[in-house]
Symmetry: C2
Subunit: 327 residues, 2 copies
């Protein structure tokens, strides 16, 4: 694992995106999202996703020039078409729009169809919180999780995010509906570790903590068993209905062909009823009363550490970025 | 267990509420919420809660005459004060208001402070769906669940609801952040059954399926371990900040003193971008594709059955209702 200075990472990734044909400003925004995610310690959804994104762009599955387009609106609710563009740029655009609407209407809602994998879900929670908004967003995914009691992967693990502004250490909660992501399973397996709790079923249908057995069966456990399965269904339904786009069962099952997902972005003005400092104080009190780590704390701490020591990047990934950038 | 004809149940409970001093129309609305919840088979949060509500009214902790009051608004976002009124009437009022706002702005959000236990969370999801709206709502509660890794009950189990209209068999998902509610633990214990999966810790800190051991330790397991604990924290934070009311750590811990909770109600017009039938068709497709029971299905089926056979009510509860009603 290399340690790359943050500025160098962001600059080099932006160069690579430019070489791939991104417009200047979009290359920089996309690079920043990748660099920040990695700097925050969410390694599974940062630079480690760069090679797959490049493959999907080169295969013509993602349109790097596409910009989301407003399709319809009613007051504080808007429907946008992501036009199969770059997932994290589209998502940032949609949350940005929800924040704008919230400035006028108190709350803003954007449903985004035909978009692509948004990489780190939490990015758009941090974005809302930075703008002084309570944020919520979720996405559907390809079918990768069985309903409770079934062995067929018919549900998405549909990550959801909740964010509360508390500058600069916002509270940002980011959860997929599977107890462990496939990325996390792979990481445990590579370290030769068992999961801390049951994470799915083996091919014989027994609950297990063995990550490799779950990767083999593809039967990840929904968070809270039947509960996470039910919640995944609801999130898919709301995203597909409001966006007018695809539901999980309509999305191709192969990860590199997972295109055209549906997403929801909500922003609520935390200063609608008084000074934003009141919201921050209440958030402080609740964090203190729980007496445990709060969601987003680890990202905030790792961000400072990785800014100081350099951002950890896999050697092979860094080599690929530099090659594309033309070094 | 008795089987009371639905109309008789609703009428008798309404009589009891009138005798307790409720205004006519409010007595009927409150009785209907109790009767419908029980008729839908959610026995833990229907008539079985009637005796506690009566005790809390008689102890002066709930004001049966209080009507929610608009405190502040910005566009599609409103803050209301529940004035320590009857929880289910207040919640129905708040969701009704969110639905009204959604009719004008596409989405409506109501934050409700100083309200009381709303009984069945799902009631307000059914309400939104009946009005053609996608609904979301949640409440905080007294501290009744430990953060992950702690033995102290500092979090609420903060139920959340998602609803999608699909007349008449709406899709309504209702989940507390504990894997099992205390009501469910009691029911398993009384039937002499173990839980189907781990539901909490015993007093020695071991994960267990024994409901009595968890009732003793009060250490219920959050849904998805650290995930449900994090989500509970977020829901509490958003409810307390937007309503300007109390957070879980400020709510008295004894169930019969649990007053002044904070709640959020969101409604989204499912017909904002086209005919409502398109939303229904997509919901149908998703339900079919999952190939499993869908959230709300059991309530819909039990509703028909209990309307036909009579609504199951505990004998002691029925006796109390009739006594108060003056029979």
């Amino acid at each position: 694992m290399l340690r790359i200075p943050y500025e160098e990472l962001e600059r080099t990734v932006a160069d690579a995106f430019r070489k791939l044909g991104f417009a200047d400003e979009r290359a920089l925004r996309c690079a920043r999202l990748f660099a920040q995610t990695t700097c925050d310690g969410v390694y599974t959804h940062g630079m480690n996703r760069f090679p797959r994104l490049v493959r999907m762009i080169r295969a013509g599955r993602i349109d790097i020039h596409a910009v989301p387009e407003l399709v319809a609106s009613q007051g504080a609710l808007e429907r946008w078409d992501g036009k199969r563009g770059v997932g994290n740029l589209n998502a940032q655009h949609a949350m940005g729009r929800a924040i704008e609407i919230a400035g006028r209407h108190g709350i803003g809602a954007v449903a985004l169809a035909y978009t692509n994998h948004w990489m780190r879900a939490g990015s758009y929670g941090w974005q809302a919180a930075e703008a002084g908004c309570i944020g919520m967003c979720w996405t559907n995914t390809l079918p990768n999780m069985p309903p409770w009691g079934s062995s067929e992967t018919r549900l998405g693990n549909n990550p959801i995010v909740f964010a509360v502004p508390r500058p600069p250490a916002h509270v940002v909660f980011d959860m997929a509906m599977s107890q462990f992501s496939y990325g996390a399973l792979g990481a445990y397996r590579e370290r030769g570790e068992q999961l801390p709790v049951d994470g799915g079923f083996d091919t014989a249908g027994r609950l297990t903590r063995d990550p490799a057995a779950i990767e083999e069966s593809q039967r990840v456990l929904p968070v809270g068993y039947w509960k996470g399965a039910g919640l995944a269904l609801m999130l898919d339904m709301i995203a597909a209905i409001l966006s007018g786009g695809l539901a999980t069962h309509q999305i191709p099952v192969e990860p590199e062909r997972e295109v055209g997902v549906s997403q929801i972005f909500l922003a609520i003005n935390s200063g609608a009823f008084g000074p934003r400092s009141a919201a921050t104080e209440m958030a402080d009190q609740i964090v203190a009363s729980a007496g445990s780590h709060y969601p987003g704390q680890r990202a905030f701490e790792l961000r400072a550490e990785n800014r100081k020591l350099g951002v950890p990047v896999e050697e092979a990934v860094w080599r690929e970025v530099r090659e594309i950038a033309g070094f």
